[in-house]
Symmetry: C2
Subunit: 577 residues, 2 copies
Amino acid sequence: MRASRFFISTLKEAPSEAEIVSHKLMMRAGMIKRLGSGIYTYMPMGLRVIRKVEAIVREEMNRAGAIELLMPVVQPAELWQETGRWDKMGPELMRVKDRHGRDFAIQPTSEEVVTDVVRTEIKSYRQLPVNFYHIQTKFRDERRPRFGLMRGREFTMKDAYSFDRDAEGLQRSYQVMFDAYVNIFTRFGLQFRAVAADNGAIGGSGSHEFHVIADTGEDALVYCPNSDYAANMEAAEAVAPAVPRAAAAQPMTKTPTPGKARCEDVAKLLGVPLTQTVKSLVLMVEKEEDGKVTKQAWLLLLRGDHELNEVKAAKVPGLANFRFASEAEIVEWFGTPPGYLGPIGTKKPISVVADRTVAAMSDFICGANEVDFHLTGVNWGRDLPEPAVFDLRNVVEGDASPDGKGALAIQRGIEVGHVFQLGTRYSEDMKATFLDENGKPQLLQMGCYGIGITRILGAAIEQNFDERGIIWPASLAPFEIVLCPMGYDRNEAVRAEADRLYGELTAAGIDVILDDRGERPGVMFADWELIGVPHRIVIGDRGLKEGKLEYQGRRDTEATAVAMGDAVAFVKAKLAA
Amino acid sequence: MRASRFFISTLKEAPSEAEIVSHKLMMRAGMIKRLGSGIYTYMPMGLRVIRKVEAIVREEMNRAGAIELLMPVVQPAELWQETGRWDKMGPELMRVKDRHGRDFAIQPTSEEVVTDVVRTEIKSYRQLPVNFYHIQTKFRDERRPRFGLMRGREFTMKDAYSFDRDAEGLQRSYQVMFDAYVNIFTRFGLQFRAVAADNGAIGGSGSHEFHVIADTGEDALVYCPNSDYAANMEAAEAVAPAVPRAAAAQPMTKTPTPGKARCEDVAKLLGVPLTQTVKSLVLMVEKEEDGKVTKQAWLLLLRGDHELNEVKAAKVPGLANFRFASEAEIVEWFGTPPGYLGPIGTKKPISVVADRTVAAMSDFICGANEVDFHLTGVNWGRDLPEPAVFDLRNVVEGDASPDGKGALAIQRGIEVGHVFQLGTRYSEDMKATFLDENGKPQLLQMGCYGIGITRILGAAIEQNFDERGIIWPASLAPFEIVLCPMGYDRNEAVRAEADRLYGELTAAGIDVILDDRGERPGVMFADWELIGVPHRIVIGDRGLKEGKLEYQGRRDTEATAVAMGDAVAFVKAKLAA
């Protein structure tokens, strides 16, 4: 490509709406242009990157045996009603009526449509397994679209859907997709991590997220540096302490702690470590029986320095639909306002659940259910009954890995892919069956597999940038290499060499752009460093007289001289590196 | 591709909803699947064809210097309001509200968005000309979606938009696109014709439609076999007869024609050719002046065998907003109900406009404005004043070509492309300007250029099919060639040769599918003939013993024996033909 035939539009300053670095740099590099809140035009420079992402995804999906089709953007409401998602999904699902008043959804995803395709097309076990995917425009009416392509409303997603005859088949299809995702993210040239994820309400037996590692990532990824254990924060298990509970050594004592409602303040006042304190969280569960609503208070106990994991809390039997208690409810059950709560001496009976760590504590400190007082030296079994014990907390750096292979570490990530075993969640609702060997209808076992195509751009930049701009991995860069001739418009020798090299690189199948705009070197260099092309060759009059060109990689601090005759081989070697 | 890794789903019978052959064959060949009225999933087999269409379009657009970007499907109403199209477009424009109640359009086309991009990105004449295009999902809420992909609601379109500094520049950009379209349709391997089109209300100086020739086409294309004159029916000029008007030979006579209201019946009754009769069409124009609406009746006169061209009628000064008169209005102006109307002796004064052919007639027959009576021997200048003369009619086969190079012929076509000089229609409304050499803002001159990507599939099939199925041109076929091994699942020699040939053809870059399903020959042949793969090689045990394969082109009536060793060269030669 010649720059004069392309559209290059860079900005010195990012628009004020851009909050994070990838958004700023994409705006400045002229890759995207805002059309409305969370809606962007992909400008020519950005579209080239999107196409490279798509091509890699498509190749690896095809290699893995998935078959591409294309499902519509505008989808009849009837299908969404069959699965109940028409009602369950809130305003995030964009809804539209046609001229006849019929309801349609602008697709945020395509489980319903693909299941409809499959329930009519797949008749026999002989046609299984099958995996259909498409790369299509999606719309999610986010409450707060932001961060450019990271949380847009209109975006491009690759979504694949596998169908199998049984759970074992689903497990195999899932593994094939998992492996394909590893290949895809490896080919992107990005640092990434696959982490086990919570299956949520959908159930099923497996789910992993693929994250691009970036300090600015919204998600915390938990992993063991010595093993392949990895999970997101919601799913990472906090194991029980290895050391058994110590014997009680102190008597239980009501201790004045005036004005010290927080564990940190109590520990400081009493001169004990924070890890000796226990904090109390009150949840409410409402039940309807015979038309009468009854409420029950639950007390969750966590060590003073730990944080509640709400996904884990919801898995405690009886707590599926919990909410946090109001102050009035706390007074009703504990006889005291929040601040000095504890499991001993409540006004009304409560259900107590202790985190695994708390269950292993002895001589601990908790609220006395009386303002300005705590209890110290509290011990399970002696001062109060043994509690129900569950994993309730977020893991922290240094926790033991659940596989017993070392201590957990935490890093930040940006979710760009998700693989999910859906099981029969959709095939049941939509009666998607096949006939088995005995001619008996069986429900299809389904998996779904998404990659946020446009989000990849934001994530790649969050991981790869410096003060001068973006640093694309070669596989995603809008161009693999840029030729910057100094004085293309006025120096014949420079122009001739630039054209010659451009011709040779193009013929070698290298995605090269020749900056023939005749801009000053400073402008050229700044533009291409901002845009993030990973390799650059400068063609200057002085160098040419010595038969030399200048090569500089985007991360290099200095240029390297390259003999004119060696340039193509040199570039090939750099690209292969 | 191996058939066992692909998704093939053919039907013996087309669903009853399919009305035309392309729709029926696409459904039967498993290329599309109906999701809702005018909304289709493109199944894997159909998507392959779409991708081939897209690839050719993209290559030729890029070669012509157009630059690809991607504009959103969901577009803010504000831009559509700037050009007035939010109000002007009827229910065909799909409208949707987001969670905050803001209005959006589901794009049917992108003039507004691209003009918004350009008005902020293009600052100087130095950046011109520029041509942006995208290939994107469109939605038009057609009143009567039908004919499969021919008149769908959701479809894929390539739309390009050129911006120039002046009308001459626009003319050049337009010609570049016109030439690119000729290249595109030539590469498709389809018979097509570019015809001049009417510019409609948009004005501007040029517009052409590209039609795929097909007997089943909805549009009539007018062309001169001896020259390059071609226009659609709306735009084709009917020139005045070359022979001047003959002198009057008959007296004007009121002649009884009881019960003969139609020209055909009058001609038959009186024993004269239909070309001696004149038919009367009454139009009304309403004008509002000082809050008062006044109506005026117009009488349009056409030769008895000719048809009104409404586009031409609307171009007669004063008739821009005509409608047809009601029976009550006819009685009010002519003193008689429709059936025996004519220009002589009306009740109230009327404006008379004669078609060029009628103006050259003498001794003609027209209604007498009295039930059951016509006037014969009517002559201009003698019996009534010379009329205003305009081209009002559709041309007919045999009419003189406007370029004087012979007689016009008519064929049917399917519109698949349109190039259009918009001028400043959008740049005025949206204040899209650039600074000229003198630093003065000037309006951008705009052109737009569309190709109905998915419609191409329907049009190609309407042109190329037989009783066995589709016959794709090689450039559009889902696969260029199919290998049909007889007994792939059980004959080792057949399997070995099929795999060998498949490997060689694949290595040669040929898009080949190997039917390794192990189906019976009859099923294989019927499937691939229905799907329309243009070349087929059969690998059979008997042939192999003689070192021979069987080749048959989709249009061939018989197979040709090919020596095993020559097969790849043979196929290459066939594909290059």
